[in-house]
Amino acid sequence: MTQTQSIQLTVNGEPVNASVPVRMNLVDFLRQELGLTGSHVGCEHGVCGACTIEVDGAPIRGCLMLAVQANGATVTTVEGLADTDRADALKAAFRDRNALQCGFCTPGMLTSALSYVESGGPADRTAIREHISGNYCRCTGYQAIVDAICDVIGKEAKS
C-alpha cells in the first residue's frame, strides 16, 4: 500500500522529480507534496469539479488521476494560470461580475471556463451552463459565472 514510484513531470512550467506513493492521487500530490493548495478537494470521487486542473492542455479531475499517471505530463494549476496572462480576461470578468463567493469552486470553475473560451465556445447561456455543469458551486446561483464567461466571449468577438 505504501509502495512508491518516482515520477517526472512539468508543473506550471517547472520540472518536478518526485517519489510518490502509488496510491496518491494527483490533486493530493499537488496540494500536499508541492504546496500548490489552489486546487481544491470537494468530493474525491470525481463529481464536484473543485479539483479540475489542466493536464497536457485538457481539463481533468485531479482526484480521479493518480500522481504516477501524470509521469511525463504537463500540468497547469490555478497558480500556473496566475503566472501567465491566459486567464486574465476571465479573472477580471469573474471579479467584475462577482462570479465567486467563497472561492472554493473557483480554481476548478476557472479552468473549465477557460477550456470553453479557448475552444471557441459561443456566448450561448445554455451551452455555457451545460459546459460548467461538471463544476458545482454551492454559493452563487451560477448566473454571475455565466455572465462572466459571456462577457469574455463578447469582448473577444469585438476585438
Binding site: C48, A82, K91, Q101, C102, I132, T140, G141, Y142, Q143
Partner: protein
C-alpha cells in the same frame, strides 16, 4: 435612531454601489487559505472509525492491530477523551422544557447514530490514519433503534435516553384567538393538507475541517477554524477543554461555504483540539465527503398537518397546524435543535393580517444524524405551510392567488405591529413587493402562455410566495437562553501613518462579501478611497468581540458597528485637524484621503501628513492635545428581538407528466432588505439562496433506510443543483431601511432559501391543477410526482 445624517450623500460614499470585492483576486489566483491548506511543523492527521449502526452498545474495542500500523501516533476511544473533555448539553433556558443528554466528542458505551465517532486514529498522514481505522475491531451489540420521527413517540418505540422516559425533546403550543370557532363559522371554506419536508444538508463545497495546535509552554490552544463564529468556538473549547478563554485563539481565514453548517460543535473537531492538547502538536481533521453527509448537521425533516379557513371574500380566518420534527439523538450544542421548530411556530402566516392562529410543535429524538440550524432555519417550512394553503384555498374558492394575497397581506402603512404569533414587525413592504413582482415577471403574459400550453398538453405552472425573513437577531435569539453567543458586534477603525484606514470587525466572511461591505461602509463614512482600506476579520486575537456571521446579521449588525466606528474616527481626526489647521472642526470634512474645507472641498491637509505628525512628531502638537487615531464601536439590536425583512417571489415551471420531471423555466425575487450596501453582492446572494431553495424543493434529500442507514452519501447520489438545471433569476429590490440603525440594512442571505420552496410547491401544484392532483412533499422528485399522478 439618530446619527450622522449626511453619511449617505457624501461625495465618496460606496454604500449602494456595485463595487467589486477587493479579495477576489486572491481567490482567483489560488491564494485562498482554507483550513485544509494549513501545513504546520509536526502536524499529524486524524481519521475516525464511526458507528455503522443507528443504535448500538459498544461492547469492546480492539486497537492492537491498528496501533502497529505504519505512521500511527496514537489512538483514542470515547472513554480516553472523556478524561480531557467535559460533556456538553444542547439546551437553552428560554426554550422552556427543552431537554438533551450529555454528549461526548467520541461515543462512550453507546453509539446513537450511524456516523457517530467511536475511535480516533492519529497518524502521520490522513491516508495512514485511514489504513489503521480499517483494522480496528469494534464489537457492537445492536440496540432497537427509533429512526422514524413519526413513530418515535409511540409507547412501543425504543427510548434513546432512558432517563427521559420518552423521545420527546421539546414541545410548544401557540394559541391565539379562537381557531375552532373561526374554522366552523358559516361561509368558511377549510383546506387541509399534510406536508412532508425531507432531510437535506448544506453540502458546503469545502468539507468541515479543523487544524488545532497546542503550545504547553503558554497553555495556548489555537484552532484554524472553518466556521462562522470564532468567539463562540473560543468559549466552547475553553469551557470543555479546561484552557482559559484568553489562551484559546480561533482563526478563521477563508471558509469554503458554510450556510449554517459550520457553526456547531462537532465531536470530531473537538476531539482534534483535545488530542492537540494531549500530544502537544498540531492535529488536522478534514472530513471526506462521506463523513460530511453522515455528520454535517441535517435540516428540515418535518411532517406538518395544516389547515386554513377562508371566507367567501378570500379573507383568511384561521391557520391551525401541527409540526413534528426529528432531530437525531441529541440537541446540537450550543444552539440547540429546537430552533427550527420554534421558527416554524413563530413565522407561519407572519406576512398576513390574521387573528386566529394555533400551532403545535413537537421535537423528537431519533437515531439519525443530528439536525440543527441550516440556512433559512424554519423559513421554508413556515412559508410552504401558509402560502401552500393560501394557494390551495384560492383554488378552492376560485380566486387568483395574487388577488388572494392582496386581500390578506399586511398593509405597508400598518407598521409597527405584530404577527399573530406575536413577532414585532416594522418597516415591511409586502404590498409593494407583490406589485413589483407581478410587474417584473409579466404575470398576465405567463398566464396567457399557460392557457396556450395547456391546449397542447403541456403543463406549466406559476407559484408565488410572500415571505418574511428573520435577520439582525438581538440577544433574544441565543444569549438570553444562556448560550455563549454574542449578539452584539464590534468594529475598529484605525488611521495608519501612511493615511490608510485599517479596519477590523467581529463579523466573519464565508464568501458573502462581508469584508467588502465593511470596507465600503468605512471608506465612505470616513472619507478615503476604498483601495486604501485594509480589512481584518476572523481572528479572536485581533478583532473586537462579537457574534460572527449567522442569521443574516453581518451587514445589519456588523455593518452598523463599522459605520459608527468610522464616523467616530472621523470626528476624532477632525478634532486633531482643527487644532493643526486652527479651524473649527465642524468647518472641516474628510474626503478622498484628505482633510478639506467642508464648504467648498478645498484640500487643507492630506491624512498622511496629519497621521505622520501625530505618530512621529508629536512635539509639534500642543501638549494638552491627546490625539486618538483609532476608534471602536459596538452595536446590538435593541427594542426588537429580530429585524424582519420581506420579499415576494415567483416560480415558473413545466412539469413533464410522463417522466415526472420538473423544469424551472423562470424565477423572480423581489427583496426588501432595507438599505442595499452592494447590489451586485446582494443579488448573487439572493440567487445563490434561491438555488439552494430550489435544491430543497426538487432534488436534495438525505435518504435513510428504515434502520437508520443513510443511503446516498456521495455527491453522485445526493443531488444538488447544477448550472444547466437552473434558470436565470431576476432580482429586484425595494429599500425600506430599518429604523433600528443609522445604516438601515437588514439581512439578505437566507431569503431565497426560505422562500423558493413554497413558490416551487405552488408552481408545481398550479401545473398539476387541471389534472386534479397535487403534491405536498419535498423534494418533489419525479417519482413522487408520478405517484400523485397515479402513474407509479
Amino acid at each position: 435612531m439618530t446619527g450622522p445624517a449626511t453619511i449617505f450623500d457624501r461625495p465618496n460614499t460606496y454604500i449602494g454601489q456595485p463595487t467589486p470585492r477587493q479579495d477576489t483576486d486572491r481567490l482567483l489566483q489560488g491564494r485562498g487559505k482554507y483550513v485544509d491548506d494549513v501545513q504546520l511543523p509536526r502536524m499529524v492527521h486524524a481519521a475516525f472509525h464511526r458507528s455503522p449502526h443507528a443504535h448500538a452498545k459498544i461492547v469492546s474495542i480492539d486497537v492492537s492491530a491498528a496501533k502497529a500500523m505504519p505512521g500511527v501516533i496514537a489512538i483514542y476511544t470515547g472513554k480516553d477523551l472523556a478524561e480531557t473533555v467535559t460533556p456538553y448539553v444542547g439546551v437553552l433556558t428560554h426554550l422552556a422544557g427543552l431537554r438533551s443528554a450529555p454528549q461526548h466528542p467520541i461515543a462512550v458505551d453507546v453509539a446513537r447514530w450511524q456516523g457517530e465517532p467511536v475511535v480516533m486514529v492519529v497518524a502521520t498522514s490522513r491516508a495512514l490514519a485511514e489504513d489503521a481505522v480499517e483494522v480496528i475491531e469494534v464489537e457492537y451489540d445492536p440496540l432497537p433503534a427509533a429512526c422514524d420521527a413519526e413513530t418515535a413517540l409511540d409507547a412501543s418505540a425504543p427510548v434513546i435516553h432512558k432517563d427521559f422516559g420518552s423521545n420527546l425533546a421539546w414541545e410548544r403550543l401557540v394559541d391565539v384567538g379562537d381557531v375552532e370557532a373561526a374554522l366552523k363559522a358559516e361561509g368558511v371554506t377549510v383546506v387541509e393538507r399534510e406536508f412532508r419536508f425531507g432531510r437535506h444538508t448544506g453540502v458546503t463545497l469545502e468539507p468541515r475541517s479543523a487544524v488545532c495546535d497546542y503550545d504547553p509552554s503558554e497553555n495556548q490552544l489555537t484552532m484554524y477554524y472553518s466556521g462562522q463564529a470564532p468567539h463562540m468556538m473560543q468559549v466552547i473549547l475553553s469551557k470543555h477543554l479546561g484552557v482559559p478563554e484568553e489562551n484559546v485563539r480561533v482563526i478563521s481565514n477563508d471558509v469554503g461555504g458554510s450556510f449554517g453548517i459550520k457553526i456547531h460543535t462537532y465531536g470530531d473537531e473537538v476531539a482534534a483540539a483535545a488530542v492537540a492538547k494531549l500530544l502537544k502538536r498540531p492535529v488536522k481533521f478534514t472530513a471526506d465527503r462521506h463523513e460530511s453527509f453522515l455528520t454535517d448537521i441535517h435540516a428540515r425533516d418535518h411532517v406538518v398537518t395544516g389547515k386554513m379557513g377562508v371566507d367567501a371574500n378570500g379573507k383568511i380566518v384561521a391557520i391551525d397546524f401541527d409540526d413534528l420534527t426529528g432531530i437525531g439523538p441529541f440537541s446540537m450544542y450550543p444552539r440547540t435543535s429546537a430552533i427550527e421548530c420554534n421558527q416554524v411556530l413563530n413565522l407561519t402566516g407572519a406576512p398576513y393580517d390574521l387573528e386566529n392562529y394555533r400551532a403545535r410543535g413537537r421535537v423528537v429524538f431519533q437515531n439519525k444524524n443530528m439536525m440543527c440550524q441550516y440556512r433559512a432555519v424554519g423559513h421554508p417550512i413556515a412559508m410552504a405551510i401558509c402560502d401552500g394553503l393560501i394557494e390551495d384555498a384560492a383554488r378552492a374558492i376560485n380566486i387568483d392567488p395574487v388577488e388572494m394575497r392582496r386581500r390578506n397581506l399586511m398593509r405597508d402603512d400598518s407598521y409597527p405591529r405584530a404577527s399573530a404569533s406575536g413577532m414585532k414587525l416594522d418597516d415591511l413592504s409586502h404590498q409593494k413587493a407583490l406589485d413589483r413582482l407581478v410587474e417584473i415577471m409579466d404575470y398576465e403574459a405567463l398566464r396567457a402562455d399557460q392557457e396556450e400550453a395547456r391546449k397542447k398538453g403541456i403543463h406549466r405552472g406559476i407559484g408565488f410566495v410572500s415571505m418574511v425573513e428573520v435577520t439582525n437577531p438581538s440577544p433574544m435569539f441565543y444569549g438570553i437562553g444562556g448560550a455563549p453567543i454574542a449578539s452584539q458586534d464590534g468594529a475598529t477603525a484605525r488611521l495608519d501613518a501612511g493615511g490608510a484606514l485599517h479596519i477590523s470587525s467581529s463579523v466573519t466572511e464565508q464568501g458573502q462579501g462581508t469584508n467588502a461591505i465593511l470596507a465600503q461602509i468605512a471608506a465612505g463614512v470616513f472619507g478615503v478611497p476604498i483601495e486604501r482600506v485594509k480589512v481584518t476579520t476572523g481572528d479572536t486575537a485581533t478583532v473586537p468581540y462579537g457574534g460572527g456571521t449567522w442569521a443574516s446579521r453581518g451587514a445589519g449588525i456588523g455593518g452598523e458597528a463599522m459605520l459608527q466606528a468610522a464616523h467616530a474616527l472621523k470626528e476624532q481626526v477632525l478634532d486633531v485637524a482643527a487644532v493643526m489647521l486652527q479651524a473649527e472642526a465642524d468647518t472641516l470634512d474628510i474626503r478622498n484621503g484628505a482633510v478639506v474645507d467642508a464648504k467648498n472641498g478645498t484640500e487643507r491637509m492630506p491624512l498622511a501628513d496629519l497621521a505622520r505628525t501625530v505618530y512621529y512628531r508629536g512635539n509639534e502638537l500642543p501638549s494638552d492635545l491627546n490625539p486618538e487615531l483609532i476608534a471602536t464601536r459596538h452595536y446590538r439590536v435593541t427594542d426588537f428581538p429580530f429585524v424582519f425583512t420581506n420579499g415576494a417571489m415567483a416560480a415558473h415551471v413545466e412539469v413533464d407528466t410522463d417522466t415526472g420531471f420538473t423544469k424551472v423555466l423562470g424565477f423572480w425575487a423581489v427583496e426588501d432588505c432595507g438599505r442595499v450596501i452592494n447590489p451586485m453582492l446582494v443579488d448573487e446572494q439572493v440567487r445563490g439562496g434561491v438555488v439552494q431553495g430550489i435544491g430543497g424543493a426538487l432534488y436534495e434529500e438525505c435518504i435513510y433506510s428504515e434502520d437508520g442507514q443513510m443511503l446516498n452519501t456521495t455527491m453522485a447520489d445526493y443531488m444538488v443543483p447544477m448550472a444547466a438545471e437552473m434558470p436565470d433569476i431576476v432580482v429586484s429590490h425595494i429599500e425600506t431601511p430599518s429604523k433600528t440603525s443609522v445604516l438601515g440594512a437588514k439581512g439578505a442571505g437566507e431569503a431565497g432559501t426560505g422562500g423558493a420552496p413554497a413558490a416551487l410547491l405552488n408552481a408545481v401544484n398550479d401545473a398539476l391543477a387541471p389534472l386534479d392532483t397535487s403534491i405536498w412533499q419535498m423534494p418533489m422528485t419525479p417519482e413522487r410526482i408520478l405517484k400523485v399522478l397515479g402513474k407509479v
